[in-house]
Amino acid sequence: MIGRSPGAVVATIGVVGVLLAAAVQLQAARERVYPQARETEQSLYLRSGIALRRMTGAYNALAADLYWIRAIQYYGGTKQRLDALGAVRPGSAPLAPAADAYPLLYPLLDIATTLDPRFNIAYRFGAIYLAESYPRGANRPDLAITLLEKGLRERPDKWEYMEDIGFVHYWFRHDFRAAADWFKRASDVPGAPWWLRSMSATTLAQGGDRQSSRAMWTAIRQSAELEWLRNDADRRLLQLQALDVMDQLQSAITSYAQRSGVQPDWQALVSARVLRGMPLDPTGTPFELSDGRVHLSTSSPLWPLPEEPAVAVQPPS
């Protein structure tokens, strides 16, 4: 059947095309009749980075890249799945801890950095998304710090990791003394930017207040090498702006309620000319009001807002 004449070649190509199209159609039909489960269980068969380092031999940098890509895909996929499952419920309390939301994120980053101990971005990615609150992150600042300390063992002169550890202590643990210590350590490294020293002092004196938080994120934004680090800093700055607006709104609502003796809704506040219109957060999403309290909408890109410490740190005596 398969000859060498031009006609035979064309006929063969045609047959191959028809068969391939049939295979595609059959597969599509099978998927329609027996749909594949949307959720596939994520698993990590090999958890020892050292064992993988042995197995990959001269190609461990390439293996590290594969684990890095897998970590990114895993994070993005899990976040999408959580969103689809309704992890973000309207009106739900923010920051509901879910320690097992991203169970493979740390092992994947740990393996990537064991295979390539100089994989700078993997440490910095981990600093943000391991520490980040649920559902945007694993809610595990302890693991973020463990990963960054591992990076520091490999590169003790990397002030960026010290800055990141300080930031995890500051933002997620509210341990401003530890944060100030790490900013100070970072500032002592030759080549570190000048503002780390002032950030250390500010953190110790006024840690936790919005002004020092704003100063920290502005500095991080200016020094960020990566676009997603800059975007993250921008988001944090907008969150702080949203908190300021919410405080102003809350104050106006409370005084209106005291004057009128009723808990108002937005419409009542607009009618009473307390507000000019429906209040929006910095991303343009309307704020929510229930039981006299202003909330950020769970559909806002800024949700969940950071927890703020009840009392700012006291300066050392």
Partner: protein, 268 residues
Amino acid sequence: MRVTAAIAISVFRESVRDKVLYNLVFFAMLLTASSYLIGQLTAGQDVKIIKDLGLSATSLFGLFIAVFIGIGLVSKEVERRSIYSLLAKPITRGQLVLGKYCGLTLTLAVNIGVMALALYAVLAYMTWGLSAEARLVWETAPLDPALMKAVLLIFFELMLVTALALFFSTFSSPMLSAALTFGLYIVGHFSGDLRNFQQVVDSPAAARFARGLYWVLPNLAQFDVKNDVVHGVHVPVGYLAMTGAYAAVYIAMLLAISMLVFSRRDFK
């Protein structure tokens, strides 16, 4: 010398006829496709990953060429019985072995040279027109000349592997030669463990034996500086020179043994 060169060129031509250079097309396609896909997947690490991928593929493709062609250099002549007509010519067996080795080395040099050029071309394409802000993320310049240090050491390593494959093929079957060469390649990358064997065994004799093996077996781990150059870690020229000298001496030793074995082999 002229005889050796003539044999080397004939080996190179044969490898071209055998479509060995087709792997370059595959390599170029792999890098081009990857440069697009990786940009979507890696959160700003595309240049690092293309460098890793390019250097690893250069090393891996070269390894397959070195082993699978290296083991057939002599055994194919024996199988096809063309060895008789070759040896009837005014060629010594030593010249034949050396010429075969040089021919395959030339094939590898052309392959690796073209793959390095392709890697630089893809990196230039990926970074062309990027803003200064986007460039901040790079630890090293995308078109960093230091990449050539890794390429050079890959070439040295493959020359050594070729010599190993040729050595085994002078006295054993192609399958066994391939298995032994791959085995030594793996051992060569972990030979550092043999040096510190006393940390895991109590027997001083076993530790001494392992340490002896460490010195005798080819140490291939020293040729792997891919990760260093990608992260911008300086690789001194002295290191390149000493590693190159090690490769030259080890290759000379293997070729000498290969010539000796081949010269004593009976083809009746």
